[in-house]
């Protein structure tokens, strides 16, 4: 799977006020329920929180990839959020987080789901990409940067 299959321009956000991990997840849940009406904001929020309880999805260097399976979801849905301020995400390296890619997948998805996550983790491990993402204020450009085919 390619990142451009799951991330749309409408779901590429920046300058979102942070506050706390919980607030950001709450903000996202409401946002995604507006974007895709068959999704239930409550369910999205509680599932994401449940996932965080098992261990933070903050993978280090200011990046977090919250994810969960969700009902009434027919395909993988990605959303990118760049926060205005870095927030404590309980990340594995203890560093605060400002780049967040959220992934919702259908109930049936299992292994493909992990492959997608691995792909995202790989993408965000690119130091140059992270630098660019923090500099840019244009959603188009953010979207383009993330979905650009990975140079081999």
């Amino acid at each position: 799977m390619q990142i451009n299959e799951i991330l749309t321009l409408e779901r590429t956000l920046f300058g979102v006020p942070g506050g706390s991990k919980k607030r950001v997840l709450e903000y996202f849940s409401k946002f995604i329920a507006q974007q895709i009406p068959q999704l239930d904001a409550e369910e999205v929020f509680s599932r994401l929180i449940a996932r965080e309880k098992l261990g933070s999805t903050g993978i280090g260097q200011g990046v977090a990839l919250p994810h969960c399976r969700i009902s009434h979801c027919d395909q993988a849905v990605g959303t990118f959020i760049r926060l205005r301020d870095k927030i404590d995400f309980d990340a594995i390296d203890g560093q605060p987080v400002d780049l967040i890619f959220l992934l919702l997948v259908p109930e049936e998805a299992n292994e493909a789901h992990l492959q997608t996550l691995a792909l995202l983790a790989e993408r965000f491990s690119d130091e140059e990409l992270r630098k660019e993402l923090r500099k840019t204020d244009q959603p188009e450009q953010l979207h383009q940067l993330i979905t650009a085919p990975i140079p081999s």
Binding site: G55, Q95, A118, A121
Partner: protein, 569 residues
Amino acid sequence: MDNLNSIFLIASLLLCLSIVASVISARVGMPLLLLFLGVGMLAGEDGIGLDFASFEAAYVIGHLALAVILLDGGMRTQMKTFRVGLRPALSLATLGVVVTSGLTGLLAMWIFDLTLLQGLLVGAIVGSTDAAAVFSMLGGKGVHLNERVSATLEIESGTNDPMAIFLTITLITLLTQEVADPLSALLMFVKQFGIGLPLGLAGGWLFAWVLKKLQLPTGLYPLLVTGAGLGLFATTNLLGGSGFLAIYLAGLMIGNSRSAKLQHILPVHDGLAWLSQIGLFLILGLLVTPHEMLATALPATLLALGMILIARPLAVLICLKPFFSFNWRELAFISWVGLRGAVPIVLAIFPVIAGVEDAGLYFNIAFFVVLISLLIQGTSLPWAAKRLKVEVPAEFMPKRRSLLGVFAEDDYEVFVYSVKSETLDGVELRRLRFPSGARIGALFRDHQLIHPSGSTRLQQGDQLCIIGREADLPVFSKMFNEEPQPSKEKARSFFGDFTLSGDAPLKDVADLYGLTISPDQASLTLGELLTRRFGGHPVVGDQMEWHGIRWVVVAVDGDHITQVGLKPL
């Protein structure tokens, strides 16, 4: 007087030459001990022509040097590694030495056409592995082994010398006495361990206690430890116990006493251990007469290969496979790291001193076996560790750390890190997730001391002095990791992208990723599932494949898994 000074001059030149040459050896990847041996041989009869053939002097120096090396080794062995390493190591150090020695002995008997007892003596002489050889090699190359393997090898090499010494002495006694008496041999065995073990533990405990109470100029602490250790060594030997075992155990007790004075003791003992290594191998290099050994070269090499490829692997298999949960790669690596060092060569002097027939032959054989072992196994260790995947990515360490000296025990330390990561640039200090017992003590920017507060924003290039305890290190080492991108990538691909808590209920994890689990697994945590899989004693880097996912142990607290990494296969 001139004579005395020329001895000093030669000794000091050899010492300096060895130390300077170690820089080159580190680059080439040659084991250091081999280098010292080589310098000694070059200076000897077939080289520059120094004539040194005093087995008695070598015997005395050998004992002294081994005792000092074992004391240092004991102090550096962390008792917390006993959790995974003690039982397998003791199995290797006792039964393992008997099996390796026995098989090697039979092979020697066949190759050199010896009697059974003579053959077994050769086996006993080369029976024990060398701690210093193993760890100088691994440490110097930056090879970081998983704890199960490193603890086993470390404790094995610290504890197997008494067994080899015992076997050697027994066989010499049997060879020199007309009537062989199995009962007295058994009694000697019991005495070696029965006296060495309690004396070592009691002595070590006493020394640690005295160190805590005594106030001395800092330079005297290490000397006191050396003196007390050697005194214990001699006393134990006089009483018929194993002095080598006693001094190792004493070192272990002192090193694990958590005394703040250890910071003065350890560096000096590191130096003393090096001096002992260099001295020992130089002397041994001087002692041998290379041209006389050529006749032994080929058969002895054959014996060494037999030991490396057959005897040691079989011993490892017999001692570890049935009782402990090592995987095949770990077993193979432990087999390969049966490195021989100074002990066999010193042991080979025993028969010479005792006047055993053909003692010169045994010495030459032992010398070659050690040489081949260092050459083949020593040089290939980093390669073998990589191939057999027993390495784990090393944790990043602060560029400086030192004890504060506030408390006598369990002291706080200061860790110095510099801020390199762009992610930390502009971050307020209060946004960092700090362990509760740790503080940023000072922040340096452009050579200026800045008073850190919660709202201070970090900048790249800042130097941080953090006050905390050793237990906090893993957190800081992740937060201020300055390693270049490639090694970070390596760690990421090893441990996986995501970590889950070891306490996460398995059914929640299964729910999250759509895995099916059996009813009896439903009540387990993820950590418990993995702990079972790894025989109850998991170590960082243990991994298993399950449901198309690789699950890797990222952090443990004793036998409790705290973090698990996962990545798709």
